[in-house]
Amino acid sequence: MAAIDIPEVHKFIETIPPFSGLSLLERKQILTGVSMLYVRQGQTLVLKDDSATVHLIRRGACEIRTPKGGLVDQIADGECFGVSSVMAQNPDGLQVVAMEDSLVYRFDKIRFIEMLEKNEAFGLFFEHTQHNRLRKLTRSQSNELASPALQLSTPVAHIMTRQLIQATPKETVQTIAMRMTEARVSSILVVEEGRLQGIVTDRDLRSRILAVGGSSDSLVANVMTASPVTLSPNSLVMQAQTLMSESNIHHLPIVDEEHQAVGMLTAADLLRHQELSPLLLINLIHRQQSVESLARVCKQWPTLIINLIVTDMKAADVGKVLATVSDNLTRRLIELALEKLGPAPMDFQFLVFGSQARRDQSLGSDQDNGLMLEREPSTEESLYFADLSEFVCQGLGLCGIRLCPGNIMASNPEWRRTTDGWQQAFSRWIKSSAPSALLHASIFFDIRCVYDNGKSEGEAVKDLIKAMQLEVSKNSVFLATLTRSALVTKPPLGFFRHFLLESSGEHKHQLDLKHQGLALINDLARLYGLSCQTYRVGTLDRIEQAIREKLISVDTARNLMDAWDKLNGLRLEAQSRHFQATGKASAYLDPKDLSPLERKHLKTTFSIISEVQDVAQQRFLRGYS
């Protein structure tokens, strides 16, 4: 075999670590016996016998998967696979699947092993690569067990203590105290005929025996908390957390349907389990007594968001968690305002619009909100609500949710209306179909009530939404106009691999994930959502509802939902990267920062949006275009 002397091969290899560290002679040696293969998209490479060697991707993208199909790594141009096959006979049985058509160099196994032994730096690089993959492998396997996103919705059965320390009501306090000390627990379950009767905790022993000079011979029945608060084993961690914090208890017996004790959940169990801080933040928010201290607590807000993102939480879940935190923040601010200003003179509802309503907030989302009043206020009452709104909106601003640049906030008298006032506004927008009305529509039609001081529990808002949908369904011209405006912006999809990028300004050559991507999907979902019988406010919920009501095909809808997830994930990542670097959130993305694989995904994502736009055009614009 002669040494390979192809300039294009050398030119490529010498830029790729660790080959770039080899001398010309070594490079020629390792290139001896190299063959080049073309792998079709979707094809699985079998790394056996002679093929169980290192491969280098010249152009393309591949995934490394476990035998069960779990994703270990995604690699593209200039990256190697088959490392573990050479170094350890591929004990994990990893597979390589081409994600796009790939041109791949396959090294000669014997030459490669020779080089690993001969050149230390070269060998170290591949050992490192292998370690790296193993780490990703273990991470992908542990992720299969419990992803952080699932933690709040884990059944308590998964984290409760099953070894129960029990007593009967007839025992003495002394004997159970000894048993508790021995078992090193702070509580004991009192059980009779298999059924849970009560619970005794360290605190009970302290307050009900020691503090009052009680006897150690007292019967358990007299000191226990009878009929304690319990949960069933399939309740969620989140429910347990809420219940314990509401009832101010630290021990929660878990019982089955026959009221038999099957486990014990303590605050410490929850704390161990609880790696996410949103609940902690919500708890803190509810304990603060002033706007200043709230603002201090909310300094953790960006860190929280970044944590959620780096723990690989699904984009849709990040949005929901953030919305829950901002809802709670909003409620706490309203409570503080009520404390300061005195009770409200009438029932009112605090409304949120836009991203908070849709529950897809991200870093740097601004506030869109308003007030809905029971009736027309007097001048004095009007002043009261002006003060309240100012307090809440400024408070939100101080806590990190930016003031709305378009002044769509409750602090603007324009957006404090009676139920009738809101209905008239919606009706006007729907009838006029003017551009400004459409702009309003895109914000206000995503609407949710976060606070209701009356007893209606947001019924007034539901009525408002019903009236709005009725009006829309009667007015097909409006829907057509809305459709046309939803189709004005096209996804930035160029030919082949090129993106049509912002051609000027600060963000030259960058992609605006929000306005060129997510907003388009939100618009489409709103369009379908408004055509549904049942109103949903979230983008994914709307698409699912549209499937249920058969307005959209399942395939199209699933594609669109995937696209939304993908773009949202990219946006969150771009934002958190940008935030960590500059302290500002930006949803702009430079496609150069993406791997070829990600670029390919993004291209597919945009073409999906474009397809659904066509579908929507067919559905809503027939006879109007």
Binding site: M1, E8, M36, L37, D101, Y105
Partner: protein, 221 residues
Amino acid sequence: MLSRFIHKLKAWYLARQSVKRRWSEWDYLVLDIETSGLNAKQDHIVSVGWVCIQNGVIELDTARHIVLDNAQIGDNVGIHMITDSDVQQHGKRQESVLRYLRHLLRNRVLVVHHAPMELGFLKQSWLEHALPTFSLSWLDTLAIERSKANRAQQPIQDGGFRLDACRERYGLPEYQGHDALTDALATAELLLAQIAYQGRDCRLYDLNQMGGGRTRLVPRS
């Protein structure tokens, strides 16, 4: 008489069988020829580059780049970057290179991009050097690409069948150099891409239908 018949029958049977064989069961030699001009009668070969495909993969070890000793460089140095000193240092006699090629092509299918040009020059050299008669099978990646476009009824614009343009459609990397060897490798990769798009069980027979044939190279009689 009978033995000739049996011989013919056997040849016919082999040909029938070979139609069924997958493309990767054959060996290929992908060739590119650099010439001093476009006219095979007036111009001559400056250099040749080739690489072989075996078992469905490009064996980079087989790559060769040979500059011919009778090359007259003149004004074309800018195109293929071969200088007079290259010719003097590395120049090989055209006849020996052609004999070597003929040897390699005995059990391989020739692959070129734009067959009329390359075959024209080969035919002319056979005439000039009075080499023994030689039949070869060939594939033309340009013709294959044209058949594909016709089949899909996707008209391809002027220049769209140039090697680089074809490669771009398959997302193959852009190569800077344009010497005979780089172009031979580029053509080989293009062929693999074209085959991949035809599906796993693509046969040489199918490729031949799209853009291939047999040609006899004969000496001047």
